[in-house]
Each structure stands twice: as structure tokens, then as C-alpha cells.
Amino acid sequence: MMLRSYRSELYKLRKRPATWVVFGVWLVLMLVFTYLFPYLSYRSGKSGADAIKLPNLLPAALPTQGLLGYAVWGGSLIVVLGALTLGSEYGWGTLKTMLSNGPGRLTVFCAQVAAMFTSLAGLVVVAFVCSALASVVIAASTGASIAGPAAFALALSMAVAWLILCMWCLFGVVLAIVIRGTALSVGLGLVWVLAVENIIRATASSVPVIAGIEKALPGVNAGSLVAALGTPAAGSGGDGVAAVVGGGQAAIVVALYLLLFGAVGALLLRRRDVL
């Protein structure tokens, strides 16, 4: 039953235009923010501590540079995907049809989550392939080395990317289940990722209590996890990548958020009336 539901959910995700729109926008923004803008900045010849260095844009730096966008803006779009996928079930009333037609509530929830995680794995692979191509183009145009990164570093980076996206996706899913709709859950998710966490980050350095809160935030831990994988890479700003906590702690906190969001979503879906 679980496998059948999983296949059904994959089919639906594949057929829904919203999935492709989110993934398409995500890939374009990722390339623009992590390769195009930094490359243009490098070409402008700006010097100083925050100047973009060419090695960061080359294939060898793919595990760090390719991971830059996942913590904040990349995460925010995936929150939208999670909220859209579950929220629209309430909007169209299809959850009732699904839950009255065979699979149990937990099966439906797990199948939907598994299908989204699978599609996110695909997105990460495609994103790294695109990043690799962008870095090769940059290397070729500047006459730099096109030597690739170590396989383990690349695999670790992709695993971290997937973990972060899965966490943000479940955040969107939980919001949609709590609110039982799409629009408000998308709005609240974006406000949290792009505004609330940034405000807390900005004030944390001056208020000790807020600094403690900052270390527990999902976005901050995602950013710390990215930072832990390598030297600061060349971003276009606003990517939320900073080593606020250690890499080990960040990985644990991100994984805990993943489990927490999953458990809350499953519990609510299982226990509440389906309206």
C-alpha cells in the first residue's frame, strides 16, 4: 500500500505545473546568485576582503559554492513547495477523497513526504550538474583549471543540500497542515525564512538572549552546516551562510527539525477531522 501511494504521489508531483515552476525558478536563481552575480563581481575587478575570488567559482570549489543558496533563499522556495503540495490538498478538498479511498492517513502523509524528498534529491542532482556546468564555463572563459572536486566532498555537499531542503520542505508541509490551506502557509513560511530569522540574526550580536535563540533557528543551523563544509565561498550576499554554531551541532539540529516537523505533521493529520 505504501509503495503504491508513493508511486501515486510521485506521479502527481510530476504532473503538477507548480512543481516544475518552483524547481525551474529555484535553478535559475541558484545559478544567478551563486555563479552569475559572483562572476560579474569578479569581472568588475573589485578588490578588498569581500572581493570575489576566481577559485571559488571553479569546478574544484563546487562542494562549497554549489551549496551557498540552500540555507536561506533556496530554502524559502522549498518551503513554498511543501506548503503548496499539502496546502492545495485542503484547498481542492482532495485530502478527503484520498483519505476515504484506501490508504491510511499515515500512509498518505509518508507517501507524500517520500515523494517530495525523492523529487528534492533529483533537484539537488540537477542543481549540482548545472553548477558544475557553470563553473566549467567560467573556468574555460578565464583559462583556469577545470579539475573537479574530490568525490567524497561533492557527495557530502549534496547530502547536506538534500538534508537542508528536506527540512525546509517539511516546514512548509507542517504550516500547510496546521493552517489547512496554501496562501497563509506560504506567506508565513516566507516571512519566517526571509524576515524573522534575518531580524533575529541582525540583533543577536547586541542582545545575549537573542544570541541564544539565534543558535536554535533552523535557517541559522542550515547556514552553519553549509559553512562547516568549507572556507567561505563567494556569494552574492544574503545567503545566510555563517558559522554561528559548529558543523556537528548544526547537522544534529537540522536533523532534529526534520524529525520534529515530520512528527508534528503526521500527528496533526492523523488526529484531526478532515474538513
Partner: protein, 245 residues
């Protein structure tokens, strides 16, 4: 003996009470629906028709009583594949085509892909199969929703106002479909607030303020009340109940 008893009734509701917002929207309802009958669940808006149907499907938290469908507790894993449910508001994906919607639900139900085409034909949507549901009229969307419930040919169909917004010709077609399904052994429970549709049912269950006020064949109801049509019969039943003593 027990299995025989259970299988004779497609639906068995005992002492069902549903409380929502501190108010009993269904109160002490007892109802049995024999297998293979076309039953109309009738009553004005707010009578509790949808809540009763939701309880039968198992998506409604109940306060007291029990609901058994096709021999299984409502909403249990054993019951779910045996019940086709069409909600009052169409419940299909607006951004998928008719065929994609049905293919998805067929996949969930584990039924053959050939049933997709058959269900589309049963609701007369062959010409719109490749159109996005979001581009269809309200009546067409309702028919897509109905087609999802027909996919698995379940022994019990629970249809919440399936003919709302449809033109008379299409309503006639659908009622013929319901009658054919019942003749083939499917139990069809159809809610409606349109009394003119009630005459097509083999049996009527009239609900008012969350209680069953009549449960009999249309001809028996007309004979008992002496009314000339079902609208008047319903009014007479209600007035009789409201008379003091």
C-alpha cells in the same frame, strides 16, 4: 450468522451523535441501509446530511454511537477500499487534466488503468478528458469528482449532492447511472435537498435538525401522509412532529 447479518446491510448506524461547536449536528441517529439499494438522504440545508455521510466515510469525529459500512467500522482500513465518496464540493486537482486526476486516484486505489477510460465514459466526459479540470464548468468538475468514486467499482457509493449545478439532461443521465449501479448490486446513498429527485430513489431517509424524521419508500411516504408530492409529504412529516403531544 453474524457475517451474514453484517453483509446484508451496506450501512448500519446505531445511536450516532456528532457534536460540533458545542451543538449536536447529528443526534441519536439509527439507520440501516440494505445492500444494493438506491437511497436518498434528504433534508434542508443544515439538516446533518453531510455530517452523517462523513461519519459513514470515517472522516468525521463522532461523539457517540457506531457506524458500520459493508461489515467494517467506518473509516477502518477494511472499510476504505469498499466505499466511494463524492463530497459536496468537487474534490479533484484543478491543475491536472481529467485523465491525470483519474489516473492518480486509480493508482492510489490500485485499479487497472482501463477503469480510467470507463469512468470518464460513465460521467460523459470523453470530450474533455485531456482538459485541465480548472478549465471545466462547475458541473463538469462535479462529474470528474463522481468519476473518481466510480473508479474502483466500490460496493457502497456515498454521493453528497452530486447533481447540484447540472442541467436536467445530465441529471437524468446520472440518476439512470445510479439506478443501474444499484440494480447491479452497488448500494448508492445520495444526498439532495431537491425533493423532485427523491422519487427516483427506492428508499428515502428524511433528516431534519440532525434527526431522522422518516425512513421509507417514496410511495409509502406519499401514502402515509396523503400528500400529492414529496415536497408536501416532507412538510407534513415535519408539521406532524411539531404538533404538541
Amino acid at each position: 450468522m453474524i457475517i451474514q447479518h453484517l453483509m446484508n446491510y451496506a450501512v448500519e448506524v446505531r445511536g450516532l451523535t456528532v457534536v460540533r461547536g458545542g451543538r449536536a449536528v447529528v443526534e441519536g441517529v439509527d439507520l440501516v441501509v440494505p445492500a444494493g439499494t438506491l437511497v436518498g438522504l434528504l433534508g434542508p440545508s443544515g439538516a446533518g446530511k453531510t455530517t452523517l455521510m462523513r461519519a459513514m466515510v470515517g472522516v468525521q469525529r463522532i461523539s457517540a454511537g457506531s457506524v458500520t459500512v459493508v461489515g467494517h467500522p467506518a473509516g477502518s482500513p477494511g472499510a476504505r477500499p469498499l466505499v466511494g465518496y463524492v463530497t459536496q464540493a468537487p474534490a479533484v486537482y484543478g491543475d491536472l487534466t481529467v485523465r491525470e486526476n483519474l489516473a492518480y486516484f486509480a493508482s492510489i486505489l490500485g485499479v487497472s488503468g482501463t477503469r480510467v477510460g470507463a469512468a470518464i465514459r460513465e460521467v460523459s466526459l470523453e470530450g474533455r478528458a485531456e482538459d485541465r479540470v480548472g478549465n471545466l464548468s462547475g458541473g463538469e468538475v462535479s462529474r470528474v469528482s463522481l468519476a473518481t468514486a466510480l473508479l474502483a467499482s466500490p460496493p457502497l457509493l456515498i454521493l453528497d449532492e452530486p447533481t447540484v449545478g447540472l442541467d436536467p439532461l445530465l441529471r437524468e443521465d446520472l440518476w439512470s447511472l445510479f439506478a443501474r449501479l444499484a440494480a447491479e448490486g452497488t448500494t448508492v446513498l445520495v444526498s439532495s435537498h431537491a425533493m423532485d429527485e427523491a422519487r427516483r430513489c427506492q428508499r428515502l431517509v428524511l433528516l431534519r435538525a440532525g434527526r431522522v424524521v422518516a425512513d421509507e419508500a417514496p410511495t409509502a411516504l406519499l401514502r402515509r401522509t396523503g400528500a400529492s408530492d414529496l415536497d408536501r409529504a416532507f412538510l407534513q412529516v415535519v408539521r406532524q412532529l411539531e404538533q404538541p403531544g
